[in-house]
């Protein structure tokens, strides 16, 4: 039986399979080239990119917690000009989609980054980060109100000509209404969830475990929260939903798909198993075969 794994996120973003890598967990792809064929991926979402270079937060930036980790990297990146000059050329060789995650401290910053990326033919989509918990200005501040989320989305809708994905924060009272506001403002898809605001204390040293005190929790620990939020958002909006949060295998990915996600992102678990993406893709095909499903799209939103 021929099995279709291809999915369509609309506005020109078609993936050969539903598996993307989450921003900030996969570098620029090349870090994983010794372990997997990057062309097997539906796509990869490269590190959060800002207008100016950012050095990120002080160390320590990470602490492991049960079935997860808290990080506060703080969007360390070389800036959009560095990306265009030094990273983009090597990314054009891949048949997988390359999506750039965009961050900013102001609405104007977001728009400027998008305008600079617009001429890059290979980049069919940007993912807008309105949900980073680890930078003071921008980031999550925009993502926690309907007005803020809509304002950034609307500005990028003007500045960016192709697929516009908006990454939502789970650190809100009602994520579905934020998703609705983002849809109204012109997003082509939403991805969720970014990390959950969290904290850990090193009791021996009697101080916070990471330099910023609070950070973002990711990994399998957050998965049930993420699946719930994807289910809520998928019932509210009519644009495609991309689900992420603690995916480690095909069964985890299928939870998101059955809850309503068109595609998924694998993040933290790339650190544990650099081959988790291709194993998940193989596992999705195997699941479809075992269950007599000829098209992965038929499993979407069945819950």
């Amino acid at each position: 039986m021929a099995i279709n794994l291809a999915v369509d996120l609309g506005a020109g973003l078609k993936l050969k399979n539903p598996v993307l890598t989450a921003s900030g967990t996969f570098g620029y792809g090349t870090e994983f080239a010794d372990f997997i064929d990057l062309n097997r991926l539906g796509g990869f979402i490269v590190k959060g990119t800002t207008l100016e270079p950012r050095q990120g937060n002080d160390s320590p930036r990470m602490v492991e917690t049960p079935s997860g980790m808290i990080n506060a990297v703080g969007l360390q990146n070389g800036g959009v000009d560095h990306f265009i000059e030094h990273k983009y050329p090597s990314l054009t060789q891949y048949t997988s989609e390359v999506i750039v995650n965009v961050s900013g401290a102001s609405v104007a910053d977001y728009a400027k980054v998008a305008e600079k990326l617009a001429p890059l033919d290979k980049i069919h989509a940007i993912e807008v980060n309105i949900s980073c918990p680890n930078v003071k200005a921008g980031g999550m501040a925009f993502g926690t109100t309907c007005e803020g989320a809509a304002e950034v989305t609307a500005a990028l809708r003007k500045a960016w000509p192709r697929h516009l994905m908006v990454k939502l924060s789970p650190n809100v009272t009602d994520i579905a209404s934020i998703a609705g506001a983002v849809e109204q403002a012109g997003a082509d898809s939403v991805s969720l969830i970014n990390t959950l605001l969290a904290m850990s204390v090193d009791v021996e040293r009697q101080r916070a475990s990471i330099s910023t005190v609070t950070g973002g929790l990711s990994g399998p620990a957050v998965r049930p929260v993420a699946v719930r939020m994807v289910w809520q958002v998928a019932r509210r909006v009519s644009i495609p939903v991309v689900g992420l949060g603690g995916i480690t295998c095909a069964d985890d990915a299928l939870q998101f798909i059955m809850a309503g996600a068109t595609a998924v992102q694998i993040g933290t678990y790339n650190f544990v198993d650099p081959q988790v993406t291709v194993k998940t893709i193989d596992g999705l095909e195997d699941y479809c075969r075992r269950h007599g499903v000829d098209d992965i799209n038929k499993l979407r939103g069945i819950i």
């Binding site: 900030g24 967990t25 996969f26 570098g27 870090e31 994983f32 010794d34 372990f35 050095q55 990120g56 002080d58 160390s59 320590p60 930036r61 990470m62 602490v63 492991e64 049960p66 079935s67 997860g68 980790m69 990080n71 990297v73 360390q76 990994g219 399998p220 933290t268 790339n270 650190f271 544990v272 198993d273 650099p274 081959q275």
Partner: protein, 258 residues
């Protein structure tokens, strides 16, 4: 250097009096070890402790005469304690080799000191052999809280001319910190250090004062080991860099320690 994701089987284990386990691994597929440099490390996934999600970075200690990979594992938490207790035949996944390793070029004829504190003694074992094979004159300086922390270790440093010891309680060797050992009054061409941060900073200060070349191997908390997550960064004269990728070994002149 190409990185591999490989399964390894525990072949043998020796527990040292200080509690660290010297564990020998063979590739599960029976093939030879991939090439590596002294000071490189592996990221090991410890099975049986599901809540401990991340791999653990562990320095490569050495390759044995029978071609086995030797790792020194300190039972620091639940996962590493479990690893020290796993029986022979158990299989673990490793990413190998990672990091830059020590620069050993031009070692012939040089007098070098390798200073290790606690489990920091591990990467110096292979380094000692490589430098001695390159005709350097190698001396070792080990530090611990008490005699049992260093007991059983000196015999691993093959090719070394002398193994000096410092213990906090004076039960063996110099009574006090590694940084106070009298051997440091002598002249060395290069000092290589791996240990707790205060010890490395102290050694770096001594080397800087004397104008001695000095390399340190850092142990910042890591997630991926591949340079992707940017969690383990160290502030350097060139900005924040990943210890896992650009390190773990740094010339002290690259660091912002003063």
């Amino acid at each position: 250097m190409k990185e591999y994701l490989l399964d390894f089987k525990i072949a043998d284990r020796t527990v040292l009096p200080g509690g660290c386990a010297m564990i020998e691994f063979e590739r599960a597929d029976g093939e030879k070890l991939p090439p590596f440099r002294p000071g490189q490390f592996v990221e090991i996934k410890i099975p049986g402790v599901p809540a401990a999600m991340l791999r653990r970075p562990i320095s490569i200690c050495d390759v044995t005469d029978s071609g086995r990979l030797l790792l020194m594992v300190k039972p620091a938490g639940e996962a590493t304690r479990h690893l020290t207790l796993m029986p022979a035949g158990s299989v673990v996944s490793m990413i190998i080799p990672l990091g830059n390793g020590f620069d050993t070029a031009g070692a012939a004829g040089k007098r070098v000191l390798l200073a290790g504190g606690g489990v920091g003694a591990a990467p110096l074992i292979n380094l000692c052999r490589v430098l001695a094979d390159a005709d350097a004159q190698v001396e070792i300086l080990l530090g611990g809280r008490s005699a049992r922390d260093v007991q059983g270790l000196p015999e691993y440093y093959r090719g070394s001319e002398q193994v000096h010891v410092a213990t906090d309680d004076g039960t063996v060797g110099h009574h006090g910190l590694v940084t106070g050992h009298p051997v440091l009054n002598e002249r060395f061409d290069t000092i290589y250090v791996c240990g707790p941060t205060p010890m490395m900073k102290g050694m770096a200060a001594i080397a800087r004062n004397r104008g001695t070349e000095c390399f340190v191997s850092l142990e910042n908390m890591m997630a991926c080991g591949l340079g992707a997550c940017l969690c383990c960064v160290e502030k350097t004269v060139k900005g924040n860099v990943c210890v896992c990728k650009h390190g773990p070994v740094f010339n002290i002149n690259e660091l912002t320690w003063q």
